[in-house]
Amino acid sequence: MVKEMLTVEQLSAILIILPFLAAIVCYLIRVSGVRSIVILITGGVLITSAVLLIPLTPFSLSPQPFFGVSIHVIVQALDFLLLLIILYFGFKHRHIVIKALALFQIIFLLYFEFFLIQDKPDTSTLYCDHLTLVMVLIVSIVGSLICFQAIPYMKNHEEHLRLKRSRQHQFFFVMMLFLSAMNGLVLSNDMLIFYFFFELTTLCSFLLIAHDGTKEAIKNAVRALWMNSLGGGAFILALVGIYRETGTLELQQIINSGNIGTGVYLLSLALLCFAAFTKSAQFPFQSWLLGAMVAPTPVSALLHSSTMVKVGVYLVLRLSPVMRETFLSQSVALIGAFTFLAAAALAVGQSNGKKVLAYSTISNLGLIFACAGLNTPESIVAGMLLLVFHAIIKALLFLCVGAIEQHIASRDIEDMRGLYADMPLTALMTVMGVIMMIMPPFGILLGKWMAMEAAASNLYVIIMIALGSSLTVMYWARWAGTLMSDPFAGRFKPERQPFLTWGALGSLCAGAGLLSTAAPWLYIQMIVPALSRAYLPPYTTQNGILENPYGAFAVFPLSLVAVLGFVVAILAVKRAAKARVVKPYLSGLQVAEPGVFTGPMNQLVKAEAQNYYLSSIFGEKKLTTWINLGAGVLLTLMVGGAL
């Protein structure tokens, strides 16, 4: 009944405009209780609206003029306002690149709007197919859960910093605004509206990274701003090129008209890929994402792992049908695979937990780019699966690290050694998150398996993916083991955390697990309809086994066996809890206190161990220059090859 009551216009309006209104309310009303209620209600409504959108997809609509002013004019005006704000920040922080890029974009936008574009027929401004729907669901559900967790997190954060005046109104204003921008971006069909929301997410990212106001935060925020503006500049150039070649700015029309093949057109597509790479922090643009880790953890979870960085991969996945069998597509695959390998290698050498997560994000995004670049039905399915699962699980991991960081006041993995003794449930959820990142039958491994099978004929790509995959296992397994490195686990007593924290973490963890088991359902309901008409569904799903002529992944049977195995193993733990506890082997010199042994002159010595970070091979300083060089070469190849 409710389904019939709400139309697509109303739902789209709710998804895009409601968070904006909530943002304004959060900014104006500075009472924390009211703000929490507003956030909770907004989140709930967003989740409901996104779910209600499921049976209504696909659809396209053109919003009616708003008080007589067409949507295009409103967006145009807001776009200029936005670019002027960015220019203002460029002046405020005296950063020449930002000023130059903002001016560049303003000039090109003016040229575009007033000289190039002729009439605008009544076109479909918003379009929602299943890929968009998947993104809307991610933004609404995962985004709302992160905002829920941000409520107790920011309260704690500000107590920690001993702020006299709370700045949470600014924080939640930008967070809600960001949710609105993301929904608008994925729903938009008109490239200019897409561009507006693209730049809006850049601004939100800048504001949120700079939130704490420290020198380091501002420096990193400025770096994020100029790198993302670089992407924006490339984007507007690409739009000019595409309009000149195809005469339309509608994404669906562009996709349906296929590859025109002219140099300018391919160059514009290459520039769009370039913009996607800057947004998704691929090499050599990764430093902004690493610097963005100084922001409060909900920001890292929302923007820099689940949603904003997904904009780049979303764009390339959308455009992949147009790029079929071009050199551009192959070079995107190479760059993606190279990033996957390089970021995994750099993560091995990191001991800062958030940086490991950042590199892992860059790595997985590289893998999705590689899938999009390979441009076969299997690889596109793989890319979408990775998109979904990575968003959920990375958000979970970031929120866990946020909770851990607030408890132990450190982000270093070495300080999380034996965390199980202190925070058992959080440690377990982090370990669950790590397991879901690297192991079958969970979603990410399913996507990786599909990607490998799809990449098998592409020699360079498969070698890089194989190497990157093994490096991935190394840094995750190391972290999981370090968390559990407690001499004896006694009775399980969960630590106290705010209800919203447990709610968010628990939902994300359970959601990822259930969705992994339901992967065949996800495939049929969401991914197959999202494949463009050019592709046939590559897999059959009989008995819950995803199968094609040359490979099979038994999702349901393996999930069943995994659950069984888990139950058996937990029973074994219960039995082991009654066993006799002995100290770890320290050559017989151990004393009653755990981890201490009798040393020379009968002095007590604490036995210490540290993880291998292999910084002589995988050190950040050592590798980054070379990797950036390599990435620069590949990028030049991509853009140049388009000509």
């Binding site: 082991a576 002995v582 320290l586």
Partner: protein, 283 residues
């Protein structure tokens, strides 16, 4: 349905029995190469039964969890192999077990376990890309990842994939814990970090890790048998000869360090793989 169940049963039961026999043969062969007589053939079974009936002592209860997960993963991988499923999937499932073994070892704070666990991680890092590339090579030649198809290929794979077989041999040395790459833990005569990864396991839990290792041995020997799947004699010959070579290499070499292992596996392994893959790709 019925034959699926039969295959699962066979895989679960025959796997460790075969693995134990192979381990026993391994020890006898090693002893004979060293001018000794060596233990009886059933020795590994005596070891496991004895361990199973020891008192259960733990350093950390999660060791029990990890040991069970290791056995589960290894046995599921072997069962899937018997069911002739997807080779890449089998590799990934086997990797689950290896990771759990590492996490279980890291859960003890003794430096022996910790260093052993990190060495095991480096071992995984060394052999996993090689195994993936071998699987890709098999795919490029036979056009399928499914073992059913690979077994029914009408030409012995060794003909077209000789270098990849050598690469598989490298991965096997590391996986079967043979010198020169037995850094993290090895059979008892070659101890370095006491027992490395398995130092703080004892009693029934140690028995589980041993059984898990048997499953893995059978799985990897099965992997070898794919390379001459056209007739039974060839299959048995290739498995026997490969295993004999592994034991021989174990007895004539000393242990190397992780830099050597990683460097050797990645440079030699990748070069040989690339040569073979390019050859396959071009033809």
């Amino acid at each position: 349905m019925i034959d699926t169940a039969i295959f699962i049963g066979i895989g679960l039961v025959v796997g460790p029995l075969l693995g134990g026999l192979v381990s026993g043969l391994d020890r006898i062969l090693t002893a004979r190469l060293q001018s000794r007589i060596g233990p009886p053939l059933w020795q590994p079974f005596y070891d496991v039964i004895k361990l199973w009936n020891k008192e259960k002592t733990v350093v950390n209860v999660w060791q029990a969890f990890c040991a069970y997960c290791y056995v589960a993963a290894a046995s599921i991988a072997l069962v899937l192999f018997f069911l002739r499923s997807d080779l890449l999937l089998i590799l990934f499932i086997q990797a689950v077990g290896a990771v759990f073994l590492v996490v279980g070892a890291l859960s003890s704070t003794s430096p022996f376990s910790q260093v052993g666990a990190h060495r095991e991680l480096l071992q995984i890092l060394s052999y996993e890309p090689l195994l993936i590339l071998v699987t890709i090579g098999v795919f490029l030649e036979t056009g399928s990842f499914k073992i059913e198809r690979i077994y029914s290929w009408n030409e012995p794979l060794l003909m077209k994939l000789p270098f990849l077989f050598v690469v598989l041999g490298y991965a096997l040395i590391i996986k079967l814990r043979k010198s020169p790459f037995d850094l993290s833990t090895s059979h008892h005569a070659h101890q370095e970090l006491v027992k490395g990864l398995l130092t703080d396991y004892s009693g029934p839990i140690l028995a589980l890790t041993e059984i898990g290792h048997w499953y893995e041995v059978v799985l990897f020997l099965g992997f070898c048998s794919l390379f001459w799947a056209t007739n039974w004699i060839g299959m048995i010959a290739i498995v026997v000869i490969t295993y004999f070579l592994e034991v021989l290499i174990d007895n004539v070499s000393a242990r190397l360090n992780w830099r050597w292992m990683l460097g050797y596996a990645w440079t030699m392994g990748l070069t040989l793989s690339m040569v073979n893959l390019v050859w396959l790709y071009a033809s």
